[in-house]
Symmetry: C2
Subunit: 618 residues, 2 copies
Amino acid sequence: MSGRELELAGRLAAQLRVDSIRCSTAAGSGHPTSSLSAADLMAVLLVGHLRYDWDRPGLAANDHLIFSKGHASPLLYAMFRAVGVIGEAELINTYRKFGARLQGHPTPVLPWVDVATGSLGQGLPDAVGVCLAGRYLDRLPYHAWVLCGDGETAEGSIWEALDKASYYRLGNLTAIVDVNRLGQRGPTELEWDMDRYARRVESFGARPLVIDGHNLTGIDRALTEARADPDRPSVILARTVKAKGVPNLEDVNGWHGKALPADMAVRAIAALGGPTDLHTRGALPQPGSPAITPAPGAPITWPSFALGEKVATRSAFGAAVAALAARPDVVVLDGEVGNSTHAEEFGKVAPGRYFEMFIAEQQLVASATGLAVRGYRPFAATFAVFFSRAFDFIRMAGISGVNICLVGSHAGVEIGQDGPSQMALEDIAALRAVHGSVVLYPADATSTVRLVGQMADTDGIAYLRTTRGAYPVIYPAGEAFPVGGCKVHRAGPGDQVALIGAGVTLHECLAAADELADTGIRARVIDLYSVKPLDRDALMEACQVTGSRLVIAEDHYPAGGIGGAVLEALADAGVPALQVAHLAVGDLPGSGTPAELLDAAGISARHIAAAARRLAGQ
Amino acid sequence: MSGRELELAGRLAAQLRVDSIRCSTAAGSGHPTSSLSAADLMAVLLVGHLRYDWDRPGLAANDHLIFSKGHASPLLYAMFRAVGVIGEAELINTYRKFGARLQGHPTPVLPWVDVATGSLGQGLPDAVGVCLAGRYLDRLPYHAWVLCGDGETAEGSIWEALDKASYYRLGNLTAIVDVNRLGQRGPTELEWDMDRYARRVESFGARPLVIDGHNLTGIDRALTEARADPDRPSVILARTVKAKGVPNLEDVNGWHGKALPADMAVRAIAALGGPTDLHTRGALPQPGSPAITPAPGAPITWPSFALGEKVATRSAFGAAVAALAARPDVVVLDGEVGNSTHAEEFGKVAPGRYFEMFIAEQQLVASATGLAVRGYRPFAATFAVFFSRAFDFIRMAGISGVNICLVGSHAGVEIGQDGPSQMALEDIAALRAVHGSVVLYPADATSTVRLVGQMADTDGIAYLRTTRGAYPVIYPAGEAFPVGGCKVHRAGPGDQVALIGAGVTLHECLAAADELADTGIRARVIDLYSVKPLDRDALMEACQVTGSRLVIAEDHYPAGGIGGAVLEALADAGVPALQVAHLAVGDLPGSGTPAELLDAAGISARHIAAAARRLAGQ
């Protein structure tokens, strides 16, 4: 940067500080001191390094700016004001107000925000996904700049991110760590021990650049060096002072997350030179288009399966997602179990769009989020149970509003011998609760293929639960399985009871219906392959016919799963008094064969039939 | 170790290998190759370093042996056979069988197993909790030895653990990493790059000891050095060969998690010298008793609050847990938000039992698990939403059967300005689903205090959800709030509708009842402070009286929360047809005042009253 630019950055930094104080004091809450420590870093970045067309935030060639320390939103929004995309009035009058887009922590309701942050240790992992897209898919020279807090380096996810960034040689990623020494309740673990930070960063394969975070020339040099390294991610470790620029508040504990009272704000703003109306923008990116672009009309040859053939739904997923490789926007991420989830089938046909995340489920989901930011359609696959490791990331992806597909195999006690640590028995409850989620649990290969196809066009977090074992194909190829629908088997006007299952328990329900038919009880069977959204009308109809006699069987703990989904849907006037037998995994399971464990959990055909007989009064 | 002992260890290693093959081949599944790579390490540990009274697994002075790579259970169980606590028949005939205690991955159904493992990257974090107890509470010289896989070092939680271990100078902790180069589906990230492993370990403050994992003398030396460092955790980085000892299978990809077919097993066992019946034990620990022992009868002076006083339940938690400090087994863990959760009140009165985990929620919960292994009663506190970061750890704690208390503050849209990233809106669904969990959500300070008191004696995972804002105390000091109960306000035989709330929405329900009374509608209000277990009888009675007209209002997303809990409890014959209005947070919230956000979500008093009027036909 030229001397003139550096001088401009200095004035900009003062304005960013002033505006951070102004908006948070006006709001009566927020994190001004955490914004002030990073103001010089962001001023230099904005004037001299960020290549971004502020009028076209959707431009593929734009750099990415992610505030992993989302609580520094006053600083981010002050930057938005400085580049002229929001006005002074919006900044000062609406920050943290009801209905405003300038929320307490940034979310993508703002077009210049890629992902929601505020749960620490997520912005950097998300950026890894953006940079995977940049290097391997878009093949554009954009750079992702991520402002991190020092406190959040205590999150393991930061190290998962740096590990993957170096493994994938993401020279297009720079983390800027604002080492201001103070966390919320006191000093951070490493305080200003820059050497230790640097050793950690270097050992994880990134390039550490230790600087004084208030020296504009040094910042400029570090940002230049960071961008220049083509194959190694950089981490700028900037020693800073919390509340920098406010006399008597600098490096003082006890001021995290507190707006300055009005009188203090007045004095602080005066000390900083008063409000200014500086407007500036940095360079524009070189124009460019992604190397790989969506081709929604791509012809896809879906796999098909013969009726009665025994096929695991995880295997059908593998075949389906491999077929989806014909769509160039589809990307698959593996959590080091691709041979179990069958995600590796995609890797065999589209190795350039298949990324191994190893045993790091947080980064698995974060990479998906980052790839989705760039318009790709990621399928992230691991054992269903291990998405619990990434639950906070899934939750935040819901707030970010990204479209990602999660595929969890080996669900429930059905996995058998491996025991409870490997059994997803809480996943339906957890995933149903996430904002904007879709939860699918097919019983056979045909329905799996159809659902995988729809997932690729579903908004939000689409979760598919697949089964370990092979079960008969029960639906002919080509049958439709709309998300939000269900399949009703053996329905008749004289049905005495409805058996509701999904996945493995659907097969148990069908066997139970056979058994019941032998004893003269007419039972319909509902394949609730779409757990969320759910086909309320079909359930209502079943209630009307059967007098609300429902047996619900699920390979899941009792709370919040398929039983909860059904009951929540029916919790309304218009349904006769429910007589529900809810069969779920009540006790902690151990090892055994799938059949033994399904039976011991009380969710096998004989238990379903017995429950139906009790409801039918026999 | 003497030459004789090393020779013994060599023979033991061969037996451990043979037995690992025998039991997994008999089971038809399991991870023999992952067991064989670590057999030499464990043989030397067992003969010469592990100080453990195998007849008294509950002895406080015992060392701890944790298989963080739980899939190497054949090796662990082979060790159990070698020390004579299980017989050959149990090992060979019951491994992975239904009903057996030798499950696919270790769980504490075995008295020599501290914690369930199998979700990678958890055993080491759990051990940090054990070692915190050893150094700071028990003050006993026991050592925790943790066998880790190389693949699991990709989990960020491993680095959270080493970070905290070094921060707390846990010289009593040694991780033994079995660097066998191969994961499930192929090579690990770092393969045999021992230098990179060592640099990472060292940068995180632990002592790296790089060895050949098949050289018994080198192993012995490293284990000796590891135990000798009083203030620094050690990480033995053992370069090993997967399937070591089996010709043609050593270091061969594609054999992870596969039992040897019978014919291969016969040849492998022969090559290893055939089955043997070696029995050996190492040294016993020095006798010793914990410095801090439970004193259940300790007199506790509970805080009390005046009716009508405005007190945040998070604040009441702080006062209550500080009172609990009179019980010497109570320990509190903070996730760097102790001034927000009010956990810091405990730290003020019992600093020696207050541990700062910084912003590392996985380690926060894992530390609690480890402390519970040693008999302490940990309360781990952070924002409710950030327990989602540790959901897999909470799930595994449920399988471990430990008794831990989790306290999550700042729940729901009620937090206001900070926005959705900080709002727990999925926590009740997720926590309800966990095996053996208790979910509590008090509305006022009095009930909070009473519930905190019971949590300290509750089995399993006890979760308390607290509220950010201050609301009036509505219950007199001393009133009882049994777990599994509820409080029914304003009940009468002519009630037309029941309003069900918990936490902040209870206050909204009370206000709604006032409003309804003004218009002649009689509404009872149910404070469902115990969401799991739940007072089904009180709900049934409310249904009988009101014709099952229920308004349920919760500051949570719609799926799986309080609404789900109520409906699941009532899903049975005997309840008149439900007419439920379920008010929950349907849309993604933003920032705003608590009142604005509660109203916008449709869970404020006026919405509750309107829903009640609709149900009552007015």
